[in-house]
């Protein structure tokens, strides 16, 4: 091309650019008066608390001036205001210690999500069939007060229920206080990956009904039974930091880490030794290491060779301080309490409970009494509040949660997003994001000492939302018989001294006695359903509650590199025997139903097990998560752990069948496959 033509081409491009600039939308937008206290271009860091899991990590948010799309006085427009731009761990915080996990980094997207609900909404017609229409806060609160007054007039105070996530916070305390003053029963809590069975076992073994903190930094021998403590379980950031000190902070030695599981998780991949164990028998292995069971008997049931058990037993006893951790799948069997108690026994034998290099329990904050989900499924209330929990997605289809909720005449959701559960609400009263409101946390683990924290808003609200505790306080005061003795605002409540509420009594520690192996019960006959089904918490999407955040959808899974999709992990060797190739469409069938997803050939899973990450398969959860992948929870058997009533999400057996060829869109991998190749000592198919 000569110079003349080059100039012509440039002119064409320039003209098209100039034409495109005409009607540029930024000339037509409505702009609101900016905040007065802005220093342009100067960043400040303000503290807050990550709300995405119950760990309660302290964060700091970098706040700078910027343009934000907002609602002001019922009008959409743009305003220059102080905006949180980046989250990091708070170096002053005892839990996060200046670090933050990938999920915490993505928490900023909760505030700026394009599908966030910006104002109160009311169901325009029939539930499930009609859309929502906007209404003002005054009308919304008036309508809610009328509903509550109606129940109070009929002396039916007990028909009000509040469904939320479990956790330790003064926010939950205030909610429980309001419910109690109204005459309603305590809040109902639900969490798919509940650790209640471990709390129960700790109460029995040690008298502390809470999760332990692990002093990894001073431990010399750590054995983990399925606990993904570096990824998704317990206080992952605090334990990752401690793990780093264990690996690199002890001069002249390198402590050993052994991981026992039936699937190679991110934490397992960090271990010095991976021990393959039959699902549901991990507790027996713990007893054998503790010396309460013979290695021969344990080997028969667990599939772990006798020599391995004897060696680990010797190492555990010799290289103290030693510590045992249990979490995740081994707790989610029907014998979860036995499994947890057996590992507790191992810690007792190691004599490291409340000692350096062992497990310890932070000073317990007062625990708010709560009720299990089953209570409202069996006896649906007349008015239900839903706050930040999605049991329609996160519970087995057999529980029929949606059917039970549909029987409730009036449901109020405080959610910031429409999801499968809040879509059943009659009234949506969107909460502020955590960056826009007062927040608090009293983490039960992650720090040897209690580390409660509370912080004010990092930025002003973007939309016409209101802090849920403040809405509840306003409603409580607007009733025909106003509730008395309550603070004016949540801020005022947080700044009051915590009342010495009655602690929930924990059972007294049992006298140490011989533990008997409790057989795990699996749903589905082994001859018909030969594979253990292992759903696991996704590193990005956790239990599915974070599937709406595109950064986390985009984040490759650390073990498989899968993103934006579901997959079924199947043992590489087993798949070859069955004629299954990477990406083939697989149907997984349990007694409860079936799901289809592409196969991921993984040397890091037992030959008699298949695993699926939880998180995808939403039917209604923002533009990023809706109709993407499948939900493995939907085919779980409704098996529960008898002692706690929580879901035994590892107790399902399945069969698999290849039903289709690979297609280009189902399995999206960022990179290669899993490198680690454990030696599978059980489940090769010879036992079924």
């Amino acid at each position: 091309m000569d110079r003349r033509n080059f100039i012509k081409l440039t002119a064409i491009t320039g003209t098209s650019a100039a034409l495109t600039a005409c009607g540029s939308p930024e000339n037509q937008i409505i702009r609101f008066i900016p905040e007065d206290d802005l220093a342009p271009g100067v960043a400040t860091w303000k503290p807050s608390i990550c709300p995405l899991c119950s760990a309660g990590c302290g964060v700091i948010a970098r706040v700078m001036d910027g343009d934000a799309e907002v609602f002001r006085n019922g009008q959409a427009g743009v305003i220059r205001m102080g905006l949180a731009k980046k989250l990091e761990g708070n170096p002053e915080d005892a839990i996060s210690q200046g670090k933050l996990c990938a999920r915490g980094q993505a928490a900023i997207q909760v505030t700026y999500h394009p599908d966030r609900i910006g104002n109160p909404r009311i169901l325009a017609g029939l539930r499930g069939q009609s859309g929502y229409s906007d209404l003002t806060w005054a009308d919304a609160i008036k309508g809610l007060i009328a509903q509550l007054d109606k129940l109070a007039a009929a002396n039916d105070h007990g028909s009000v229920a509040f469904l939320t996530r479990p956790g330790h916070s003064r926010r939950l305390e205030l909610i429980a206080d309001i419910l109690q003053r109204f005459g309603a029963k305590p809040p109902v809590t639900y969490e798919l990956f509940s650790d209640d069975v471990l709390r129960q076992a700790n109460a029995i073994s040690f008298g502390s009904h809470q999760l332990p903190t692990y002093d990894l930094a001073n431990a010399r021998y750590v054995i983990s039974f399925g606990a993904d403590f570096l990824g998704t379980w317990n206080s992952a950031v605090a334990h990752s930091a401690a793990y780093g000190r264990m690996r690199q902070g002890q001069k002249g030695m390198r402590p050993k880490f052994v991981h026992v599981d039936a699937r190679l998780s991110q934490t397992a991949a960090n271990a010095d030794e991976f021990v393959a164990c039959r699902p549901g028998t991990e507790g027996l292995l713990a007893l054998a290491i503790a010396g309460d069971e013979t290695p021969q008997k344990a080997s028969e049931r667990t599939g772990v060779p006798v020599a391995t058990i004897e060696r680990i037993k010797r190492e555990f006893a010799t290289f103290g301080p030693s510590m045992a951790i249990i979490g995740g799948a081994p707790l989610a069997h029907t014998n979860g309490l036995f499994q947890a108690s057996a590992v507790n026994r191992l810690n007792e034998v190691a004599k490291t409970v409340n000692q350096p290099g062992g497990i310890s329990f932070a000073t317990a904050s007062s625990r708010v009494p709560t009720r299990p989900l089953k209570e409202i499924l069996d006896n649906p209330p007349k008015l239900l509040f839903i706050d930040g929990v999605n049991p329609v997605f996160g519970s087995p289809g057999a529980w029929k949660v949606a059917d039970a909720l549909n029987k409730i005449p009036f449901i109020v959701s405080f959610g910031s997003f429409i999801d499968e559960t809040s879509a059943l609400a009659n009234l949506i009263l969107p909460d502020h994001s955590f960056l826009e409101s007062w927040v608090d946390a009293a983490p039960e683990s992650g720090s040897a000492k209690a580390a409660p924290s509370k912080f004010g808003p990092v930025m002003r609200p973007l939309y016409d939302t209101r802090s849920t505790p403040d809405v509840l306080l306003e409603v409580a005061k607007g009733l025909v018989k106003p509730l008395t003795g309550l603070p004016n605002t949540f801020e005022e409540y947080l700044n009051q001294e915590a009342k010495a509420s009655k602690p929930v009594p924990s059972p007294k520690p049992q006298a140490p006695g011989p533990l008997q192996f409790a057989e795990p019960v699996f749903d589905g006959d082994a001859s018909q359903f030969p594979y253990h089904f292992m759903p696991y918490a996704s590193q990005g999407l956790y239990d599915g509650s974070l599937a709406h955040l595109p950064w986390l959808q985009e984040m490759p899974d650390p073990m498989t590199s899968g993103m934006w999709c579901s997959w079924v992990e199947i043992n590489e060797q087993k798949a070859r025997e069955l004629g299954i190739e990477q990406g083939d469409l697989i149907e997984i069938t349990s007694t409860q139903g079936s799901v289809r997803a592409p196969a991921f050939l993984n040397p890091g899973i037992a030959p008699d097990a298949v695993a699926m990450p939880v998180g995808q398969g939403h039917t209604n959860f923002t533009r990023y998560a809706t109709n993407r992948g499948v939900n493995p929870i939907s085919i779980l058997a409704p098996a529960t752990i008898a002692e706690t009533g929580t879901l035994a999400w590892s107790a399902t057996r399945v069969k698999i069948a290849r039903v289709g060829d690979p297609d280009r869109e189902s399995l999206i991998l960022f990179g290669g496959a899993t490198r680690e190749r454990p030696d599978w000592t059980h489940g090769r198919g010879d036992e079924h």
């Binding site: 080059f6 012509k8 081409l9 320039g14 098209s16 342009p40 799309e69 950064w551 959808q553 993407r628």
Partner: protein
């Protein structure tokens, strides 16, 4: 020969447009697509995904070729000349200039500090008074800024401390009504001044 060259140029232009259009459609695998009717748009019609991309193809091209208009259309005929001739100084309104990296464009609240009392009978002042009552601000268009690609990190405050006059970089505003880009602040402009004032010309002084 000329015909063939023209044809080649046209083909090249068509190819560039085609590739650019196709590139706009490329997203990460599995992300919602632009052309998916089920995906709701943002209120401003922007992308359905979080993206650092330009708002329009035209804007991307303009920035790529470094084209920027000298005269910038503004929503209100603000006159620097009138204000400066009445004794106001730059820092009265551009308050960030002495304390931080950016001078800042004042909001209407700043205007109303004086205009709640001064010239209240003028139609333009009545217009902005009404806007303030409604909580609305001017949607000013930026006159000076660096392209993100130049990776310049400019801070006003050190320049003010070094007694650099505002007019050195922004022209004599007392002669201007609506601000126009009087000085083309390219790298040569900055480097020359730094040399004269014996300020550092190290790359990292200005670039990141």
């Amino acid at each position: 020969m000329v015909q063939a060259s023209k044809r080649a140029a046209l083909l090249l232009a068509a190819a560039v447009l085609l590739i650019a259009t196709a590139a706009c459609q490329l997203t990460s695998p599995g992300q919602p697509q632009w052309n998916d009717p089920s995906v709701p748009r943002s209120r401003w019609g922007t992308a359905p995904v979080f993206t650092p991309a330009r708002a329009s193809f035209g804007q991307a091209v303009r920035e790529f070729i470094g084209r920027r208009p000298t005269e910038v259309a503004q929503p209100f005929p603000f006159s620097h000349q009138i204000h400066l001739s009445k004794g106001a100084v730059c820092t009265d309104c551009h308050t960030g200039v002495e304390t931080g990296p950016r001078a800042g464009i004042p909001g209407l609240n700043t205007c109303m500090i004086c205009h709640s009392q001064i010239a209240t009978d003028k139609p333009l002042i009545q217009q902005i008074t009404k806007m303030q009552e409604q909580g609305l601000d001017m949607n000013w268009n930026r006159v000076y800024s660096y392209f993100p690609e130049s990776h310049v990190r400019f801070e006003h405050a050190p320049h003010i401390r070094a007694k650099v006059e505002c007019s050195n970089c922004h022209g004599t505003q007392i002669e201007q009504t609506v601000a126009r880009r009087a000085v083309d602040m390219d790298m040569g402009f900055c480097v020359n001044c730094h040399k004269q004032k014996q300020a550092s010309n190290d790359c990292l002084t200005c670039h990141y």
